[in-house]
Amino acid sequence: MPAATTPETVDLTDRDRAMLAGDFGQAAAVAMRIIATMAGVYGAKRLLDIEGAHIDGCLYHGDSGVDFAELLVAGGARVSVPTTLNVGGLDLVHPEEFAGTAERRAKALRLMECYEEMGCRTIWTCAPYQTTPRPAFGQQVAWAESNAIVFANSVLGARTHRYGDFIDICAAITGRAPAVGLHLEENRRGQVVFDLRSLPRALRSAAWLLPAIGYLVGERCGNRIPVLLGLEEADEDGLKALGAAAASSGAVALFHAVGITPEAPTLEAALGGEEAAEWIAVGVSDLRAGLRSLSTAPGASEVGIGGSEDDGLPIDVVALGSPHFSPREFAELLPLVERHPPAGRVEFVVCTNRLSLGELERTGNLERLRAHGVRVVVDTCVVVAPILRTPAGGVLMTNSGKFAHYAPGNVGFDVVFGSLAECVRSAHRGRLWRDPALWP
């Protein structure tokens, strides 16, 4: 077994050292070597205990990810803290939804099985914070998946650094993580203020705009911690959409919304008593710019300008649910779809998790959605797995900032961003429909 460097600068406990020495099994030794190496890379002085983990490594990117999972399984890996799984490369409930090759299907499935064998909970969702017992305020966890990280830190006030593939499962196996970054109080204060107070009130409380605000924040603040000042109201679905967009356009892992998120009762608290490094006044033109960068299809950016019945950009696909759709979002979608059912030639897909699916089944709403041609996909999503049947090159419309960011590169569609109602009515027409009432 190759010896990764274990930097002498990291103060390991006796238990950490025993784990390195193989006393807890081969897989735990591998996991601890990687954690210790990364602690050295980050300049951590010590490791800390974590109480939960969320794993992104279960999504197939290539055979090396399977090799790594198999190495851990063969070494007897078991997670030592409650651990949940992000999306995989397949919808296990609806296997017919997979449109890729048999070889890719087999590998994606094997990877998912490996993580299940290590004792992870198979919730297969990028919105774990809407399904399971969630981390408490102040709790140390190791979460991967950019939108889940930003939600855990910002909305729940739990503490995780920005983790990704491989180190996530190593933390879950060892129960340890480098004591760096957002795990530590002193690194959580806000740095850049986004002042929304000059915007019309109707825009500051518009749920459909939150992804555009998030996208703008991510673009302008990079990996610094933003503070949103003047956000009128936002429920958890709104904060989920905002955070997911900010974590797509930037490396945002924590934001504070003054008066809304738990570490920001006041601006002073959000800034940790220090001066803001930068103060950005956000005007209507900035919001329009944020909206423009969310859409890539030519002729898509005229938000607030309604098209007549016979013109407007043709829409091929409507994709919703990144992060995964919640029961409340389905409750909003259903009456819209019943009033304006999608045209037959438009592919309409909603991605969600099994908990939401179960509720849709119990209430009979799944059948009502399906009757109108809406497909509900679980365990995975349309930008990470071959799910869409429409050939690449068309136009995909979404109300998700994250889908809008990743769909062009990952699945080759031009994108139009719009509100939920705009998505539904555009699917109904087969052409882009804009709601002139959205702008005051």
Partner: protein, 140 residues
């Protein structure tokens, strides 16, 4: 021919040699490098189309997705990874991909961080080598 020797901070130790590929703009490996060919595929990147395979990749820092560690690991598996990665700023994601590659395939490009002035001094195309103690030699 003169040889210059630089010493950096080793994030992941190893040895590798090859011609310098110097990127002034950061690059996300995920969505930015095709692990099958080693080529840069990010269309917004100025060096799109060039290959990182076997090169001493000099860039300021990595950018973007945390799945970049997966792409570097896949590159090691397929033999398309850089010979070494030389950064100006700490990047945990590429170091993680390299650390996992060492565990899994018993090989990986070394990942180093150089002081900014030293980092600036690495010319495009120069033959460079990194040894296990973190010393970087440039023939020029």
């Amino acid at each position: 021919m003169s040889v210059a020797e630089l010493e950096g901070r080793t994030l992941v130790a190893g040895a590798g040699a090859g011609p310098v590929l110097r990127l002034e703009e950061p690059l996300s490996f995920w969505g930015g490098v095709d692990p099958v060919t080693g080529r840069i595929i990010d269309r917004r990147h100025p060096r799109c189309g060039e290959s990182v395979a076997g090169r001493v990749l000099v860039m300021p820092y990595g950018r973007g997705s945390s799945s970049s560690s997966s792409v570097l690991l896949e590159g090691v598996r397929l033999g398309t990874a850089p010979a070494a990665v030389v950064l100006r700023e700490l990047d945990g994601i590429l170091a993680l991909g390299a650390a996992v590659a060492r565990e899994l395939y018993e090989r990986s490009p070394p990942v180093l961080v150089l002081a900014p002035a030293d980092w600036e001094a690495l010319p495009e195309g120069a033959e460079a080598s990194v040894d296990v103690s973190g010393r970087l030699r440039i023939a020029g």
